[in-house]
Symmetry: C2
Subunit: 208 residues, 2 copies
DNA sequence: AATTCCAGAGAACAGTTGTTAACTGGATGA
DNA sequence: TCATCCAGTTAACAACTGTTCTCTGGAATT
């Protein structure tokens, strides 16, 4: 089991988490490349210089945010993709998973969508690495499916990337519709479901 | 025909274009939300206050950049989608079009990818509007195809959005691979081609 | 030729930024 | 108990930001 942290370490982690939380809030209305160090410390209620005890720079903080936002998501993805049932059920399950995640962690989703192509190279790189991991994991799960018989590794990875990108697009659309009326949210959900359905149909006839 | 501009108007347009060009260059390494007004005027070689003669704010400049980057692209998209030939030819043609555009205007492509989910609301809105126009245009072209028989308007638009999003993903991947060796660029092109192929297969069996 | 217009310059404003150095005081380990 | 450590503080730095007001000189209009 894990060692109990001393008062000192515990307090440090608490402050570090406060930095991450404050930054995530500030990033709802701007990009990481315009996030100032003093801005974050002000929001946390701490002296500017305290920042350096935790991060080298705001880019460094951004990389930490990537891990927080995506790091714990891998088991969720694995189990969702490998769920038994016909493809229609799995599509519904996947869309519901995304919708639930967007509801629960909108700021995280916004951050990833924003910084995936954002102006801070190390953060882009960290997101790219995490998404590649997702694609690899989805590919592994897809390979277990009997429908994957006769598929090359390359084609499986191609399909996995298609699914992962589609997840992100859907998450981003649901995010924009977060404060919209329920009927608009339902429209987005239906759109995403049909797009996944079309991809799955293409998958079924790929080897024809 | 168009009226010839006076010396004054011509010079103003020239300066305005210098602002757009300088901003686009500066935005290769940061996001719009961190682009400073003085930074741009410095790059143009003009006094900070001159900025206000052309734009209200950097957000306003960003909206102008959206128009420059996407405004002239509509005819290109229309003709590419409506090209005759079997689907395989059309896919190849589309991927080549994107690759060519990324080569010719990398900064524009980067700007759109970056600011689509970026921190400046009016710019996000402008990009969203342009992409919706693209989707509508693609839908219109798709509807002309005999294969669209029996398709609902909703499903056609769903498919059109799928294609448009896929174009953007491909453009972004090609952009990242711009300075990579030719074999890596070829790998990306092949990936995009197969993804489009899978979507097109799904399209062919949608009504089964 | 005389008048109006207006893109851009210049100077000044209060506020902000990242980073440095030297410090304090409570937790930690001998 | 006492010396060490180290998260967070305080103060100061030069450099930068957006925005204002006033001015200028050449183009445009009459």
């Amino acid at each position: 089991m894990s060692h109990t942290l001393g008062i000192r370490q515990a307090q440090k982690q608490k402050t570090r988490q406060a930095f991450l939380d404050a930054a995530l809030t500030l990033l709802e209305e701007q990009s990481l490349s315009s996030l100032g160090l003093r801005e974050v410390t002000r929001a946390v209620g701490v002296a500017p210089t305290a920042f350096y005890r935790h991060f080298r720079s705001t880019a460094d903080l951004g990389v930490a945010l990537v891990d927080e936002a995506l790091g714990s998501l891998h088991p969720m993805v694995r189990t969702t993709v490998s769920t038994t049932g016909d493809s229609e059920e799995r599509i519904t399950r996947a869309v519901e998973l995304i919708a639930g995640h967007v509801d629960a962690h909108p700021a995280h989703v916004r951050f990833i969508a924003r910084e995936r192509h954002g102006g801070v190279q190390p953060v882009r790189e960290a997101i790219r690495a995490q998404l590649s991991r997702f694609a690899e994991e989805v590919k592994t799960e897809l390979a277990k499916d009997p429908e994957a018989e006769g598929w090359s590794d390359d084609d499986l990875l191609m399909l996995a990337h298609l699914y992962v990108d589609q997840m992100l697009i859907t998450a981003s659309l649901l995010l924009e519709a977060l404060e919209a009326p329920a009927e608009e949210r339902e429209r987005v959900t239906q759109l995403a479901t049909r797009q996944l359905r079309l991809i799955t149909i293409g998958r079924g006839h790929w080897l024809d």
